[in-house]
Amino acid sequence: MRIVVLIKPVPDPASAGERLGPDGRLDRAAVPAVVNGNDEYALEAALKLVALAPEGSDVTLLSMAPASAPETLRKALAMGATRGVLVTDPALAGADAVSTARVLAAALRELEFDLALAGVDTSDGVGGTVSAAVAAHLGLPFLSYAARIEPDEAAKAVRVRRISPTGYDLLEAPMPALISCTQALGEPRYPSLKGIMAARSKEIVSRSLADLGIDQATVGGAVATTAVLGTRTPPARGATEIVRGTPAEGASRIVELLAARRLI
């Protein structure tokens, strides 16, 4: 089973230091990058799947990111991925969702896989549209919001439980397929010490736009389809009222507030 996992380095959400640069785009240098949270769940799902049938199986990371990304990918390699492919090119700075999908699709087209997995969205963009776009570019069946993934290698098909408002839909499609992954797939493992040390000898191959046969002028910030026109800081919420006292006193203050704001 050969699996590609799409990985995006994002500003560390725990740092609370994200900001826009002067060009209105996310300033990726402001805060150290970590692997996008949902992508770790996708990777964990991939590692569990190949563990079921390790013969001839591997997990390749695919990332479109600035050149500093190899360090960020190290944790993903330490978790157990086999290798990484990093698409990096100065012309990609400021790439929007449209460029990103095109470039990822081109890079994925070069790889052989049964499944390509991606997180449902990223903590920096939170758009959640890129994986569907990549699948459309490549003519791959797209199964999204996966809570469970069950490939059938003999039948060259995969079944996915897609989270729905009432429970789940059981989807089925032929492989190769692209699947967007939710946290419901299971907590990502902590890299073992062995995995951490082994990561240093795993290869990360770099691909530039030229390598992918993509004209620089057709992707990246220069041809972005969207632009930030302005920003504002939302008004501060106002001081927090802190109430101590008996539980009954606390409860009645809550009721008072809710009534005053016509919430009850």
Binding site: V31, P191, L193, K194
Partner: protein, 390 residues
Amino acid sequence: MTGPGAGPGDRLTEEQRLLRDAVRELADSRVAARAAEIDRSAEFPEDMRQLLAAQDILALPFPEEHGGLGGDLLSVCLAVEQLSRACATTGLILAAHELGALPILLAGTADQQARWIPRLATGEWLICFALTEAEAGSDAAAARTRAIRDGDAYVISGSKRFITHGSVADLVTVFAVTDPDAPRHRRLSCFVVEVPTAGFAVTRLEHKMGLRGSPTAELAFDEVRVPAANRVGEEGDGFGLALRTFERSRPAIAAQAVGIAQGALEAAVAYARERRQFGQRIGDFQMIGAMLADMDAATEAARQLLYAACAEIDAASPDAGRWSAMCKLVAGDTAMRVTTDAVQVLGGYGYIGDFPVERMMRDAKITQIYEGTQQIQRLVIARALLGKDS
């Protein structure tokens, strides 16, 4: 991942950061809960040793070709620091394991390394470092345990004191006199004794102030035969090998001390945030706040010095001995000061067993004594500064 020693400015590589976080996670989830009981029972925590072995932490100091993880000095120290933050005894399991094995790593033949390292890396075997004697502590060169050549073996007789892990080790790295008439620093040779073996006995276990879960033993050698193939390095190399060993092992003790200090600091801060007197958090009183600030600054300074020393030592700096002594000196004194202040911050509660800081203070003291007393560290540094009198 936030917290001291965990920010973007800490200049660790991603690999080192991952490693530190992995050990920290393990320490928080599996080690911390055992610390108080380990201290109370004063029994070697075999479960902690199994845990460290299973997590490949004991493999960290050893080369990959023999099943180790090939970690550099800083990596080992990061692991010791994170473990010691939760339990100093558990941190010492790794530090003492590395100490005992260093002579083999530094001067062992390919055959010796192949024989011993693999099972040390898996943690199946533990190893201890036996240099100190009742009458030879700081003056280690004055050791009297004797190793007499007999055919293709040596016969070792004498006794060693204050040997960490002496009662649980499978291998004993022992330093014995092979040439009593040689100049002081050429009298000793180094041997690895595989125990149990005839004539070897653990004759005493110390009852200690701190690090109570770590067995500190007196070892008796009564005509213990050891194959010549078990001698590490040439005859007379022993003392020099011990010094080269300390260069790399002292930072691990500094790491233990930094870890202890950090644990104490965190306990004191948590207490100062919760405890209210005179209508406010005690942490908001300036005297307490100042203490906490000084504790934090001192711990961070000791940490950064340790990390810098590791880099210097791994880069084979000609100044390695000075760096090693400095980081151990500063960290040990810092641990003692920070833990004492932590007890003070907790006041009466700091003095009783329900809170961890009294244990941390008792644990901290030894970091000013073993692997070279603070006084010895100062001698080393002063000599490095002054050079020899011409």
